[in-house]
Every structure is written in C-alpha cells, then in structure tokens.
Symmetry: C2
Subunit: 194 residues, 2 copies
C-alpha cells in the first residue's frame, strides 16, 4: 500500500486531530509526528484548514455516494434502511480518525466551506428521511416524526466511533445487524396479546 507524502501528512493529521481536537493540534505537533520541521509541511498542503476541509468533504462524498447507491436499488424500505445502516457503519469503522473529524470537527470550517458542508450533511439526512417515508407509505413503518426518527437513528449510529475497536472481535457487519434490529424493533419484548 503505497501512499504519497501528502497522503501521509493528511492521515497523520487526522489521527492527531482526533486525539487532541483541531484547534489543539499545532502544525509543529504534526510536523514532529512526521519527523520534519513545521515549515516543511507547507510543501504538501496550503494551510492547516486544508487538512480539515479535505477530510470533511471526502467523508461527506463517501456517505452520499453510498446512500445514492442504496436508493437506486429497487428494494423495500426495510431492506433499504438495513443497507443504509450497514454502509454508514462500514464507512465509519473503516477509518475512525476521518470519521471523528467528519462528525465533530467540521464546525471549525470557515465560510464558505462551512455552509457547503452543512448542505451536504442535510442532503444525506434527506436521503434517510426518504427511506423512512417510503416505509410508512409501504405500511412497514409506523407513522412517525420523520426528522426526529432520522436524527435518532443517525445519532445512535454515529456513537459507535466512541467505542468501536477494529482489533476487537465485533465485525462492522455484526454491529450493523445489532443496530438495525434495535432501531427496527426496540428494546421491549413483543407481546403476544396486543
């Protein structure tokens, strides 16, 4: 797996940003982690914010592309939701550093990138809302506050980066199945009498 020096800089930055936060990671920290002097970083990137920008928008792109694929397939809403959840978790777990930056550090983007980013985030949420609405129309899902449901679902998905360990025994697919089941059926035992 070869990577250019620029990619090495970006990946190391993502790791440090996750560890210390964007504002607490200094370019001198980053340079030190790479074994070079701070001014040398600027041969590979233009500014500190470029590190943030690149990461946030690449992640947004991955999420949106994955969701578009799901929506293009002619499945029912439950299947679509399960696939969307699985994709979301796979993207998160396959790069936890990037995922942290995408989820928690985007707010330090400056304009106009901040506004652009928020548009992409909203578009992604909109994709989830469409799945829920379809499910209601198909009679599969309860009639529910859709926006509320999507925010609840995404928040429970996003939390996994706080505890997921790639070297642990749980595969992303298993996490996805457990979460799908929880979201679809809830905690309560199904009663036979209704």
């Amino acid at each position: 797996m070869k990577s250019t020096r620029r990619e090495e800089v970006i990946h190391t930055a993502q790791k440090l940003i996750r560890l210390h936060g964007y504002n607490s990671m200094s370019m001198r920290d980053l340079a030190k982690a790479l074994g070079i002097e701070a001014p040398s970083l600027y041969n590979h990137i233009k500014s500190k914010e470029e590190l943030l920008k690149t990461t946030c928008f690449e992640m947004a792109d991955r999420f949106i592309t994955a969701l578009d694929e799901v929506n293009d397939i002619y499945f029912n809403a439950e299947q679509k939701l399960r696939m969307a959840i699985e994709n979301h978790i796979k993207i998160l777990t396959s790069n936890l550093d990037m995922a942290h930056v995408f989820l928690h550090e985007w707010k330090y983007l400056s304009e106009p990138y901040l506004s652009e980013f928020i548009v992409l985030r909203d578009r992604y949420e909109q994709g989830f809302r469409e799945i829920i609405v379809t499910g209601e129309q198909e009679g599969l899902f309860k009639e529910i506050d859709t926006k509320f449901a999507v925010l609840t679902i995404l928040s429970s998905l996003n939390w996994i980066i706080e505890w997921y360990k790639p070297e642990g025994s749980m595969l992303p697919q298993e996490v996805a199945e457990k979460l799908s089941h929880f979201i679809l059926s809830g905690l309560k035992k199904e009663t036979i009498y209704k």
Copy 2:
C-alpha cells in the same frame, strides 16, 4: 433571579465554549463578552480550566443524583427507564450550554480531573445498565447486549442538544415520550402474526 459575578462569568463562558469550543474560546473573548478586561477575570476564577472543570462536574452530579432517585423508587424496569430518560432530557434541555460542555468538551480536562470525570460517567452508564438488566430479569426486555443497548440509548438522547430549541413548541416531556417510545418499540409496525 440574582446571580453573583462569578456565576455570570461561568455562564458566559459556557455559552462561548459551546459556540467556539473550549480551545478556541480565549479569555480575552470571555472578558469582552462581560465588558471587562481579561486580567479582571482572575478575580473570580483561578484559571481557564476551572471553568471547564466546574461545568463538567456539576453536570455529572446532576445526572447521577437524578438516576439514584429513579433507582430508589420501587417501579418496574420500563417505568424506571422512562423516568431515567425523562430526567436525562430535562437536565440536557434546561441548560444546553452546560450540556454541550459536559458532552463534548470534557476531553480537554487535564489529569487528574479527566480520570475522575470518566469514573463519574461510567457510574452513570452503570446505572442505566442496571435498569436494562432488571428489565431482562423481569421478562419485560429482550435479552440483549446491555452495554451496547445503553450506549445506543444514551447517544440518541444526547443528540437532542444539537437540534432542540427551548423557544420551539416541543416540551422536554414530549421529546422524552417520543424517544422512550422509539427506544422501547422501534420503528417497525407491530405485526399481528408472529
């Protein structure tokens, strides 16, 4: 509603920390918001970190106290869970600035406060786990990965500070009911045939 000058400093700091992040809020910003010069702040507080420390530990105390009360009452697990959820949401929504600091900025605490804080957080999660375990024993809840369930529940609760508007039409109690229902019963329509 009277408040000491120190409390005024702390509340203003919480607001600015939520807005910009702990590391991006400078003591000069804070002083300016209060209409004084930066060095004057140190007549009311000892250090910048004291602002963070005070907020994080006061919130932790509120959460733990509320959960202890729920567990002292002799209800069944579903009732306990509903009450715990309602309390959690009331604490979050009654001070969104503090809640943000508690949820997202605690990681910038330095030792030994960081470790102490994590102990309190774990204790709170443990309280939720006990409710879930009780529910399983009572035959009310599915047998489930308890740690997984608690993290999922708390993450969906905590997300509300990202969108909740106190001036909006939704009361904390309504939010709590919707979330309780979602967590207990899930998204899927109950089937009559099993």
